[in-house]
Amino acid sequence: MARVIVDVMLKPEILDPQGQAIARALPRLGFSGISEIRQGKRFEVEIEGPADEAALADVRKMAETLLANTVIEDYSVRVEAQ
């Protein structure tokens, strides 16, 4: 049993309307000193066996084909330290 984290973020050049809406709202809410916010997705994937190379390769493939839309998003995969 291990937990693998897949982070999916819009590519930097792609418009992130969600992040922008939050960033625009911040000053009004009294938060300053923040230059940018981008919003993405985080997946917590529980795998049954150990997080070995084979399992990670599988998760990477899953990220590539299912969790991320690689036309507009980048992803990264890492094992969570338990």
Partner: protein, 751 residues
């Protein structure tokens, strides 16, 4: 290094990547001739996008002219083709503007964003006429229902339309959904928007008055959809970071909603001289078109354009297709009021230039002049092609393959159920339930009605009071058009016209989206030429002018084009919207009446398609005179309150129309068929037919109206009971019809 005009003059022989930008050698030479020197890379950017097929209509122009030359005389037309959208007079001081546009290719690459930005783009077209957008519609085509490609593309497209349109607060009041293997790899996503305005409020895309300010407002400009510009950037700048710019645009419907409300306040405050949306070709298009239609000159400092990505180069800024942007021309006296309204709506706005009377569009970047062109040469004087065309080699054989040779069924009950659960005739609710059809509280009819109907009186507080309403429908049948593009385009118009008329509305005007393969293929070009000729002729006969539209070419995979698919939208008006006719059988104990004659016509029919996988012969005859008479009866009868419910008869024939009429409110009916051949009566797709439900005491008056206009009519039976019964032929409980009809799409896409 910035490629300034000075530099261009000094380096006349520097090679330029015009071919990579899709320009032909002779087109490039023409630019050189116009300018008397080589273009700068920014100028090349402008000419390449403005002279692209998409912006210049260079292959279609010579044909589209017929919409003007053959246009019927119409007092209703306030603004015709050539503006962002046509405007029609709908009475009582009100006007409506509407247009349909394609976003086919982007929706294949990224279904959600492609479809969403398609909605966004057409809504801005409507806004730029000075109108409040009031509803959207969408006409969709996908590959076979069970194809993997369809499963990938359809849910994303629907979600994109849904998330964008719903967030804007525009009710979705109708559209189409059809499947055919020819659309695999080439889905069609055509979006329509309709807007309302006071007649005296129309805005145009023009920049008159030297000294007036040019304002860019809305979203900041980013590197969206500038795949093409990267060629320029890498050629001129040898800069790798610019080599991979995204071809995909992402929409921000919230920003668009703010833009809508902001624009309406700007119009109300009367602080806008001219306005243009930024669609394909972004700043290039907006500046050249505004300047060309105004006093003729404009000065712009591109360095003032607010950027999302500060590394953007001027060529990229010019080509960027970032969404949710508009450009306005504002007098210096009004500029403060203009900016204050933008600020109230949190819409960024920046003065980037000024109108001049020099006849030149001049752009600077950090002090250098990088563009200096006569704007009309980019906006209006693009290349025009007389592309060769001829009838496809296989056309004669296709037309000769008449469906009379197909085996006809004995079990008509089974045939009805098969058709009713087939992809093109099944309930579209899986799609339509993702669209908000109620928002803004003016929706009178929407799915599953034949046309969407809106009340208009409460849309714009302060405008003249009115009881009027508008009705809209879109239609198009690629199989019919494949068999005969001339007739196919007419049939598309006829069906949309009829769908508007069955609600009781008087059809007024037409918009169209012409989806075809490559214009460089003479066989496709023939299909296109025939379809345009057919549509223009039909508009003339029906007395409804084309007010605008859109052409989408290159819908093909390899050398295989899609079926030619002209999608036609018709707008109609109801003088008293309370007299609209609802959809289907609305109550028991009403007479069921069929108007129009049925012939043995199965070419291109759903039956041939679903049961035999057959496409051949000729489509049903387009009898436009009959459509016109039928429309007249429907409008008169509705106005006199003679009709309780209605449904047009089209795909799948009378059998499917009867079933859908029962499903509308769960009211069954019993009918007797008028003709000798039950199969023909039930499944033929003869046109100019509708099904009505009328109170018995209204029947004679209806019959008299029909007789006066020589419209054939048949009393088939009565509504009521829990089943659809065709005497001596079939009986199906309404709930069984429902299960079959509503189960098909969820079976593929989940519930």
């Amino acid at each position: 290094m910035i490629d300034s005009v000075t530099r261009a003059t000094e380096t006349p022989d520097e090679p330029q990547p015009y071919a990579e930008l899709g320009m032909k050698a002779d087109e490039y030479e023409r630019v050189r001739a116009i300018l008397g020197r080589r273009p700068t890379s920014s100028e090349l950017a402008i000419y390449s996008v403005m002279w692209s097929e998409h912006c210049s209509y260079k292959s279609s122009k010579v044909h589209l002219r017929q919409f003007g030359t053959k246009a019927p005389k119409s007092d209703a037309l306030l603004v015709g083709m050539g503006e962002n959208a046509g405007v029609v007079d709908i009475g009582d001081g009100w006007a409506a503007t509407f247009k349909i546009e394609s976003h086919n290719h982007p929706s294949y690459v990224e279904p959600h964003q492609g479809a969403a930005t398609g909605v966004g783009g057409i809504v801005r077209d409507i806004m730029s006429m000075g109108a409040r957008p009031v509803a959207v519609m969408d006409a969709l085509r996908f590959g076979a229902l069970d194809a993997p490609d369809t499963r990938r593309v359809l849910p994303g497209v629907v979600e994109g339309i849904s998330s964008y349109g719903n967030c804007l607060g525009l009710p979705n009041i109708g559209g189409e959904l059809a499947f055919d293997p020819c659309y695999i790899g080439n889905p069609l996503v055509n979006a329509l928007c309709v807007g309302l305005l006071r007649k005296d409020q129309i805005k145009l895309a023009t920049a008159p008055g030297p000294g007036n300010k040019v304002v860019l407002f809305g979203a900041r400009t980013g590197p969206d959809g500038i795949g093409g510009a990267s060629v320029l950037a890498s050629a001129t700048f040898e800069d790798e970071s610019h080599a991979k710019r995204p071809a995909v645009q992402v929409g921000d419907p919230f920003m668009e909603k703010l833009l809508i409300e902001c624009c309406l306040e700007l119009f109300e405050a009367d602080v806008v001289v001219g306005i243009q949306d930024l669609g394909a070709a972004g700043v290039s298009c907006a500046t050249t078109e505004l300047a060309a239609k105004g006093t003729g000159g404009m000065r712009v400092d591109l360095g003032l354009v607010p950027l999302r990505d500060p590394s953007l180069l001027p060529e990229e800024i010019l080509m960027s297709e970032s969404q949710e942007r508009m450009m306005a021309v504002v007098t210096p006296e009004d500029i403060d009021a203009f900016m204050a309204i933008c600020a109230r709506w949190d819409v960024p706005a920046t003065v980037i230039g000024e109108v001049t009377d020099t006849g030149r569009l001049v752009m600077t970047w950090k002090g250098d002049v990088i563009v200096d062109i006569p704007p009309g040469t980019a906006a209006d004087e693009g290349p025009v092609y007389e592309r060769p065309f001829h009838e496809p080699e296989a056309q004669a054989a296709l037309n000769a393959d008449d469906p009379v040779r197909l085996a006809r069924p004995d079990d008509l009950r089974a045939t009805l159920l098969t058709l009713l659960g087939s992809s093109n005739l099944a309930s579209k609710e899986w799609v339509t339930s993702q669209y908000d059809r109620y928002v803004r509280g003016n929706t009178v009819l929407a799915m599953p009605a034949d046309a969407g109907v809106l009340r208009i009186g409460e849309v714009m507080p302060g405008a003249e009071e009115t009881d009027r309403g508008i009705a809209l429908a879109t239609d198009g049948n690629g199989r019919y058009a494949r068999l005969d593009p001339y007739a196919g385009a007419q049939l598309a118009l006829a069906e949309a016209y009829r769908n508007v008329a069955v609600t009781g509305a008087r059809p007024l005007a037409v918009t169209n989206c012409l989806n075809f393969g490559s214009p460089e293929d003479p066989e496709v070009m023939w299909q296109f030429a025939e379809a345009v000729r057919g549509l223009a002729d039909a508009c003339k006969t029906l007395g409804v002018p084309v007010t605008g539209g859109n052409v989408s070419f290159y819908n093909q995979t390899g050398s295989t084009p899609i079926h030619p698919t002209p999608v036609v939208g018709v707008l109609g008006v109801l003088d008293d919207v309370r007299k609209r006719v609802p959809h289907g059988f609305t109550a028991p104990d009403l007479k069921i009446v069929l108007l129009g004659d049925t012939r043995d016509e199965f070419g291109g029919s759903e039956w041939a398609h679903v049961v035999h996988g057959h496409l051949g012969g000729l489509p049903p005859a387009a009898d436009l005179e009959a459509e016109r008479s039928l429309g007249g009866v429907l409008v008169d009868a509705a106005g006199r309150g003679l009709i309780e419910g209605s449904h047009d008869v089209s795909d799948g024939g009378l059998a499917v129309a009867l079933a859908e009429a029962c499903l509308a409110r769960g009211v069954g009916g019993t009918v007797e068929l008028p003709g000798p051949d039950a199969f023909v009566d039930l499944f033929s797709e003869s046109t100019a037919r509708v099904l009505l439900a009328v109170r018995p005491e209204s029947y004679d008056a209806l019959a008299e109206l029909c007789a006066r206009r020589e419209v054939p009519y048949y009393c088939l039976g009565m509504t009521g009971g829990p089943a659809l019964r065709v005497e001596g032929v079939l009986e199906v409980p309404v709930e069984e019809l429902r299960a079959v009809h509503e189960g098909a799409l969820p079976a593929v896409f989940g519930s």
